[in-house]
């Protein structure tokens, strides 16, 4: 199949070609900018509480700090979300679940590590039952603190939004963040 208007040549399987065309279309600047703008205001984290930082995460999305004004709405099913927040310590048992949840999320997906335990163990650094989440997931934003204040969560959302709007991410199978904030 030849599609001269678009400027690219698509040959072979129709479905495959259509997917390629749509991908190409979405990567073109005006559309891409619009897409990134839309994604940045619809960062929906999956409701996956791994540890005690969840209390501050909950406070961040509740009335006083109200993260929903950034388009940040905790949602229940991983299939409809694009942001995984690791809230505090990730134990070995939970890491298995976290991997499955991450795999279930559709592209583009982002990971925020919240709390110093998620960064490098924190107060539990010599515990025998924890993993370092940055070894499992490509991480976009790290939030230090034990626990980080809800303001810090809000700031991490803004940082991630900026990153998305500056197109510093790749949409696709090899989701690798470029650089770190």
């Amino acid at each position: 199949m030849v599609c001269p208007l678009m400027g690219i040549v698509l040959v072979g399987n129709l479905e495959e070609s259509a997917r390629k065309a749509s991908r190409w279309f979405l990567e073109k600047p005006p559309i891409r900018n619009l897409r990134d703008w839309a994604i940045s205001f619809s960062l929906w984290p999956v409701h996956f509480t791994t540890s005690c930082c969840g209390a501050e995460f909950a406070a961040a999305s509740c009335p006083r700090f109200d993260a929903e004004r950034f388009g940040f709405l905790p949602f229940l099913s991983p299939r409809q979300t694009n942001l995984l927040l690791i809230e505090g310590t990730l134990t070995r048992k939970m890491a298995e679940a976290a991997k499955i949840v991450y795999q279930q999320m559709p592209e583009p997906k982002f990971v925020i590590l919240m709390g110093v335990c998620a960064l490098d163990g924190g107060i539990f650094h010599n515990s025998y039952n924890i993993v370092r989440p940055h070894e499992l997931f490509p991480v976009d934003v790290f939030i230090p603190g034990c626990p980080p204040r809800p303001e810090a969560v809000a700031r991490s959302i803004i940082m991630l939004q900026r990153k998305v709007r500056n197109s510093k991410y790749i949409w696709g199978d090899g989701h690798e963040p470029k650089g770190e904030d």
Binding site: T91, R92, K93, H125, N126, S127, N129
Partner: protein, 157 residues
């Protein structure tokens, strides 16, 4: 008759020692094979549920001490905690399960098995509780399970 006298009367023939280290604590040590009997007598006194089951690893004496803390919600008994303890061999830690005497030993004993490897005979579900199910190392609360130790000790006299 106060509580201490009652306990001494009831348990003197099976307890190896009865101590009162603190005003709110009664420590009863028994032999491994009399634990069921001792527990039943403590329940008859009114201490009808457990606050804790714990194991203490004593590698020097080649033993694991299993400690039961029983308490009561009755007004006259609630100020006291009864501590029932016994020792099992470290290489073959087996003890009768007290789940029929104190029903809430269900998870407490299971945790002790998980953390110290004490096998409670007659417990219906001895499987991993807190540790991941694929855990195959030695039980972590034993003293020979080492974790990295940090710490600065400020010298004082």
């Amino acid at each position: 008759m106060n509580l201490r006298e009652k306990i001494e009367e009831k348990l003197k023939d099976i307890a190896t020692s009865i101590e009162y280290p603190r005003p709110d604590l009664i420590v009863i040590a028994v032999n491994r094979d009399r634990i069921m009997e001792a527990a039943q007598r403590i329940v008859e006194l009114g201490f009808d549920h457990l606050a804790s089951v714990e194991g203490v690893d004593l590698p020097k004496e080649n033993a694991i001490e299993v400690i039961y803390h029983a308490e009561s919600y009755e007004e006259e008994l609630r100020n006291t905690i009864v501590e029932l303890k016994t020792r099992v061999a470290r290489d073959d830690p087996k003890l009768q399960s007290l789940i029929n005497v104190w029903p809430n030993a269900l998870y407490l004993e299971r945790e002790t098995w998980d953390m110290l490897g004490v096998v409670f005979e007659g417990h219906p579900e001895l499987k991993r509780l807190l540790l991941p199910p694929w855990w195959d190392d030695i039980p972590p609360l034993r003293k020979d399970y080492k974790v990295k130790v940090e710490g600065i000790i400020v010298g004082t006299k």
